[in-house]
Subunit: 219 residues, 2 copies
C-alpha cells in the first residue's frame, strides 16, 4: 500500500465529524438533517464533510422522492477499509487493509453466519438473545487477536533492537545502519527499491551493501 493511500486515509479520518458521520452511516442510510441533529453540527458543515467523503468514495448518495416537497438526498456508507498504525521505540508499522467478504470465512465462521441467518425464524426475544451472544463472542475473539498482535509487535521490537546492536557492534556508518534495517525488513529488496526507499543513488546503495558484506552482515 503506497504512502499516498495512507496519507489520504489519515486526512479523511483525522476529522472527528467525518468519523462520526461514517459511524452513523455504518448503522443505516441517512439524510443530512438526521446526521446534523445527531452529531450536533450544522447541516452546512455536514454537507461539506459528506462532499469530501463522497469525492473519496467513502459515501454514496441518491435522491429520494419525498411526500412533503422536493427530493431528499440520502447517504450511505460505500467503502470498507482498515487503517492501523503502531508507533513506539523500535516499532513503526503503518498498514491499510481491505476488508474481506464472507467468501473467505473459515468453516467455524461459516457456522456462525448460518446461525445468524437461521435465527430469522425464531421469536424476536430468542433471536435477539442469540445475536447478542454472537456479538459478545466476536468482541471477545477480536480482543484475543489484538492481545496476540501486541505480543508479536513486542517481538518485532526486540528484533529491531537486536539488529541495531549488530550494526553498532560492527561500527556501521549511519547510512549502513539504514541499509541494514531496510534489507532486514525487505528480504527480497532490489537495488532500485532500496535506492528509492532510502533516497540514495544506486551506486551508493551498492557501496553500502559491499560494506555490510565485508562486516559479515549481508551475504
Amino acid at each position: 500500500m503506497s504512502s499516498t493511500d495512507i496519507d489520504e486515509l489519515f486526512y479523511l479520518l483525522e476529522n472527528p465529524t467525518r468519523r462520526r458521520i461514517l459511524q452513523l452511516l455504518s448503522r443505516e442510510q441517512l439524510y443530512t438533517l438526521q446526521m446534523s441533529r445527531e452529531i450536533d453540527v450544522s447541516q452546512q458543515a455536514v454537507v461539506k464533510h459528506l462532499r469530501i467523503l463522497e469525492e473519496h468514495g467513502f459515501v454514496a448518495s441518491r435522491d429520494e422522492p419525498s411526500d412533503r416537497g422536493p427530493n431528499r438526498r440520502v447517504y450511505r456508507s460505500a467503502r470498507s477499509v482498515s487503517l492501523h498504525i503502531d508507533v513506539g521505540p523500535s516499532t513503526f508499522l503503518e498498514q491499510v487493509a481491505p476488508h474481506s467478504d464472507s467468501s473467505q470465512l473459515s468453516d467455524e465462521q461459516r457456522r456462525v453466519l448460518s446461525a445468524i441467518s437461521e435465527a430469522r425464524s425464531m421469536e424476536p426475544t430468542a433471536r435477539m438473545d442469540l445475536l447478542a451472544r454472537v456479538g459478545e463472542d466476536l468482541r471477545y475473539s477480536l480482543q484475543g487477536l489484538e492481545r496476540e498482535r501486541q505480543q508479536l509487535l513486542a517481538l518485532v521490537g526486540e528484533l529491531n533492537c537486536e539488529v541495531g546492536r549488530c550494526s553498532r557492534r560492527a561500527e556501521c556508518s549511519y547510512d549502513e545502519r539504514r541499509m541494514l534495517h531496510h534489507i532486514m525488513q525487505n528480504p527480497s529488496y532490489t537495488i532500485e527499491g532500496a535506492s528509492a526507499a532510502l533516497g540514495l543513488r544506486e551506486a551508493q546503495v551498492r557501496t553500502l551493501l559491499e560494506g555490510l558484506e565485508q562486516r559479515g552482515l549481508n551475504r
Copy 2:
C-alpha cells in the same frame, strides 16, 4: 479509550512529516539535522513537529555535549501506542491499544526471544541469518492475524445488518433503532451511559427501552 485520546492520536499521526519522524526515531535516536536531511524537510519544520510530538509524550530529548561547539539536542521515541480504525457499511470500530511488553509473551514467543539473544554468541553472518528468518516468521504471523481479524470483522458486519433487519421488521422508530444498536454493542449498558452516548435524556432512554421490550427486542 475516550474519544479525546483517539482525536489526539489522529491529530498527531495525520501529519506525514510527524509519521516519518516517528519512523526514523523507531530505528535510533537522532539529531534534528539528521532527520531534516533524511525527510528532506527544513530543520525549522522538523523542530516544530518535534515540539508538538514532545508535548504529547511521543518523543523525549536531551542535550548532548559536542566536540565541535555547543551542546546538540538528541531525540528519541518515547511512547508506544497502536491506533486502529475500521470503517465501512455495517462496520465502524475505532480503537487505541497500549503496547504489551515482553512480560506478557506466550511460552513459544519466549523461545523466540531467547533465540534472538542467544544468537549474540554467533558469527555475524549466522546471527543476521537467524534474525532475518525470525523477522520473516513474525511478518507472516502478523499477516495471518490480520486476515483472521478481517474475517471476524466481516461477521460483525453481518451481525449488525441482522440487528438492523430485526429493528425494521419490528417497525422501530429511528431512536429505537439507535437504542437497539447501543444495547447490542454494550451488553452491560446503563441508563446513564446510554443517555450520554445517544445524547438523549434518561427519561427518553427509559421510554425507548420499554418500546423495545414491548416488541420483544429487549428483556
